[in-house]
């Protein structure tokens, strides 16, 4: 009777060990293949980029510059400088600054953003993207993502 019990326990442990190891191995196999297909997320790196002198843009006005091929707006508000991406958050058209109405307007689908980038009307799903701004010794900088150019990035 005791022997039989031992036998049962032994075979249970043996089967448990074999099947467990097998499942772990198969699981790892598919996990590794999955990781192979998904490139890891890289930590974003930023660098400072000079966009204006502190007094060069009068209050309530905006200055358009380009970053790569994309428009960027440096806006001087009461709260200080804000820098917006000029890419409409709806479908990627370039927005334009309308000074008399103190707003951004996207000609593609009539999206309207106020001077702080918030959506007033039209289809854009979210406010204009903003850059982190730093004012340092009379100069205005933004933090721009560092992108290395290569076939895999």
């Amino acid at each position: 009777m005791i022997n039989e019990e031992n036998q049962k326990r032994r075979s249970f442990l043996k089967n448990f060990g074999i099947i467990g190891a097998l499942l772990i191995a198969v699981g790892l196999f598919f996990r590794d293949l999955w990781l192979y297909l998904y490139p890891p997320k890289r930590k974003k790196k930023f660098h400072k980029y000079l966009v204006a002198k502190l007094n060069s843009v009068p209050l309530g006005k905006a200055k358009e510059i380009t970053l790569g091929n994309d428009p960027v707006f440096v806006v001087h508000l009461d709260q200080g400088y804000r820098v917006f991406s000029g890419i409409c958050t709806h479908l990627g058209c370039h927005v334009r600054w309308e000074e008399e109405k103190q707003r951004f307007f996207c000609p593609c689908h009539k999206g309207v953003y106020d001077k702080t980038g918030k959506v007033i009307s039209g289809p854009p799903p979210r406010p204009l993207d903003q850059f982190k701004v730093e004012e340092d010794k009379n100069l205005v900088y933004i933090y721009v993502e560092t992108k290395t150019r290569g076939p895999w990035s």
Binding site: L22, D32, L33, L35, Y36, L37, P39, P40, P151, W152
Partner: protein
Amino acid sequence: MSVKAWLKERFPIDYDKFIEINENIFIKEPIPIHMKKWWYCMGATPLILFTLQVLTGIFLAFYFVPSPEMAYESVRHITQDVRFGFWVRGLHRWGANLMILSLFLHITRVYFTRSYQKPREINWILGVILFGLALTFSFTGYSLTYNQLSYWAVTVGTNLIKSVPIIGHSLLVFMRGGEEVTANTLTRFYMLHVWFLPLFLVFFLVLHIIVLRLHGVSEPEGFPKGKYFPFYPHHFYKIIIATLFLLAVMSALSIILPPGIGLPADPTTTPFHIKPEWYFYPTYRFLRMVPLKVGIYVTAAFLIAFTFWPFIEPLLSKKNSVRRNISYGVGALTLIITLALTIWESLT
């Protein structure tokens, strides 16, 4: 409505008949008793390896770029940057090597058990075709890495084709996509490797298995005749165990001896030491020993004799014992020469 009924309405198949066919073809396939021994039941190894090659090949194709500018760089990227890239490439590379090795062992086993005899001659020939396809697979495969060795292997390999009488030059231009090894050659080899060869291999593999099933596995001398066991579960589980074992071996090899990337292809400089993969050593050594034309004609004659051996053997004698002795002698001699040339080449 149950799922089964729903499916039955959409796919109006006679399920009982389907299950019966499945039972007859797979589950209850009669396997001769000698195949309970591991030594005799490994014919499925190349099939298992081929399946794994297809899988790892698809995974490699996610990153590989077949252009002269990018081929080497993408192989480097897979091997050094991509997570588990070295492993996937290692599985593919070692899988290819093991595939050739297993085919070599399979052919040797079939030859020495004389399973090619009437009425199985055609299956021997199908097997030889499959072996040729596997070698072409390997050759086109390692040419894709576009390092120095692979570039010059393509140059030398395609130059050999030029020696084929009459159609040699046309064949060379066709293979290279021009007179020289260029981007055309790389895309041609890529196309061969991922489309043409897999389609052909699957076609001949299916034929090979159909003919095998029609005749049943041959029963070698020295085992009780006419005793069988069903495919499922014994043989089925053996195949599963073999698959897991092969994967473990390939994984271990990929980690212990990971695939290298070599130096990028330089069409202006031939490297000092240029050698093909080990499975081409016998042919390579032989071709270096004799004048090129002689080498090619002798190799061609050997290939013809090898392919049609099941038809040649019966012509040699009417007595089975004499035929068997000749076959064993010829086989042993071929094996010794092959091994000797391989060892010789690997030592020089």
